[in-house]
């Protein structure tokens, strides 16, 4: 079936099976490989993207369910002038990634979290990342990045 989704501001239209998960629509049909698959039980969050600005696990959404809606992936997060989004920037400065596999999902999850709560406590962030698993970093620097990004975003207001 033909499914039209706006991805990172671009209108995409692809003929995929009804059973095509959004993550595979993005990776295979659109060709954006940044979003990763890390599990098969909606547990790890590596596949997190923004759907109409809100974080969702793209492995647990059928592309068909979001036809006509707007999806943002890691590739679409940079600012208009090409600079990194404050969350991306904070990850770099805080050493928030090692192997990078969970990173796009983490960045999108935190972007959504900060949009909903611009001034979170550490506890709020940790709970908010309960659905995003990382094996390399021990989360310490990811949390630091989220806190740093919340400061940076506040300063931009």
């Amino acid at each position: 079936m033909q499914i039209d989704i706006t991805v990172n501001g671009t209108a995409e239209s692809h003929d995929v099976e009804a059973r095509t998960l959004l993550v595979y629509y993005l990776r295979d049909a659109v060709g954006l490989k940044g979003t990763n698959v890390g599990c098969d039980t909606t547990s790890c969050g590596a596949c997190t993207v923004l759907l109409n600005g809100e974080s969702v696990k793209s492995c647990t959404v059928l592309a068909a369910q979001v036809a006509g809606e707007e999806v943002t992936t890691i590739e679409g997060l940079a600012l208009e002038d090409g600079r990194m989004h404050p969350v991306q920037q904070a990850f770099q400065e805080c050493h928030g990634l090692q192997c990078g596999y969970c990173t796009p999902g983490m960045v999108m999850a935190i972007t959504s979290l900060l949009a909903e709560n611009p001034d979170p406590t550490e506890e709020y962030i940790r709970l908010g990342l309960e659905g995003n698993l990382c094996r390399c970093t021990g989360y310490h620097n990811i949390v630091a990045a989220a806190l740093a990004a919340s400061q940076a975003l506040e300063m931009r207001q």
């Binding site: 547990s43 369910q65 309960e130």
Partner: protein, 274 residues
């Protein structure tokens, strides 16, 4: 990881859904947020022939305040229930519980109707709605009917909806002067409850719901009766295991789960002012 193939149709109206259910019966499954159904399909534990996508029925996503009742559309997302000014002021217990289901991504997709209709005894919302004395409105080819929460959960992953009915609304009597407690034991934050308890005390009485203590979501009439009879939290909680049939696995034996039930019920009752 990849579901088996299926036919897909997006429903444009409640009537259309009912028509499709009538036509296809058990071959059809409704797709709302998809966070109960799609995980099963990806592991091929469920292989419906037809998916009826009801996710766009925006008319079923609402939280409104009637005189004595908070009415929630069946397709209201957990996130929206957690952040709605209506639930936050009128039935904050519901907002609180909706706000800790799964994780933020799950809450952006999962719906109250989808969660309840799945019939999972480990559902947090189901236990809360039992404790609140909610009713569920089903719509079928012959119109609407209201089902008491106590009669809704029939057996393990089975609810009292006919195969041609759709859950459209959840009605929660506004608890007046309510105090409540919600306690859940998990290993990790994102886990389903090993055991959970909810207690709400209001002008209309006391409601105690139990999570994952049997094949269906449970309401503890024994504990409620004890409270009504004047027992304190600890005394009433002693009855928490009555009528429960928890399963045993490596996360806990039957005895352990029943013990934790007593502990969590006591704590929930204490928070509810008992």
């Amino acid at each position: 990881m990849i579901p088996a193939t299926f036919d897909y149709v997006r429903a444009g109206s409640v009537d259309e859904v009912i028509g499709l259910l009538g036509e296809h019966g058990d071959d059809a499954k409704l797709l709302a947020g998809g966070h109960s159904l799609l995980p099963l399909m990806k592991l091929r534990l469920a292989q419906p022939a037809l998916l009826v996508d009801i996710g766009r029925l925006r008319e079923l996503s609402y939280v409104t305040e009637e005189e004595d009742v908070i009415a929630l559309g069946a397709l209201t997302r957990h996130h929206d229930i957690a952040t709605s000014p209506v639930t936050l002021s009128s039935v904050p217990l519901l907002a609180h519980v909706a706000g800790q289901i799964g994780d933020p991504q799950v809450r952006h997709r999962g719906t109250i109707g989808g969660s309840i209709c799945h019939g999972d005894p480990a559902s947090d919302l189901a236990a809360v709605l039992l404790a609140l004395g909610a009713t569920f409105v089903a719509q079928g080819p012959n119109g609407r009917r209201e089902i008491d929460a106590q009669d809704f959960f029939v057996s393990f992953f089975e609810v009292a909806l006919r195969s041609d009915e759709l859950l459209v609304e959840i009605r929660v009597p506004r608890p007046l002067d309510a105090r409540w407690g919600f306690e859940k034991l998990t290993k990790r934050a994102q886990d389903w409850a090993i055991v959970g308890a909810v207690a709400v005390r209001s002008r209309s009485g006391v409601g105690v719901g139990l999570i994952n203590l049997g094949p269906v979501p449970l309401r503890s009439s024994a504990v409620e009766a004890a409270v009504v009879a004047g027992s304190n939290a600890a005394e009433a909680a002693a009855f928490a295991a009555e009528g429960t049939e928890p399963s045993a696995d490596f996360n806990g034996s039957v005895a352990y789960r029943q013990h934790v039930a007593r502990v969590l019920v006591r704590r929930a009752l204490e928070k509810a002012g008992v």
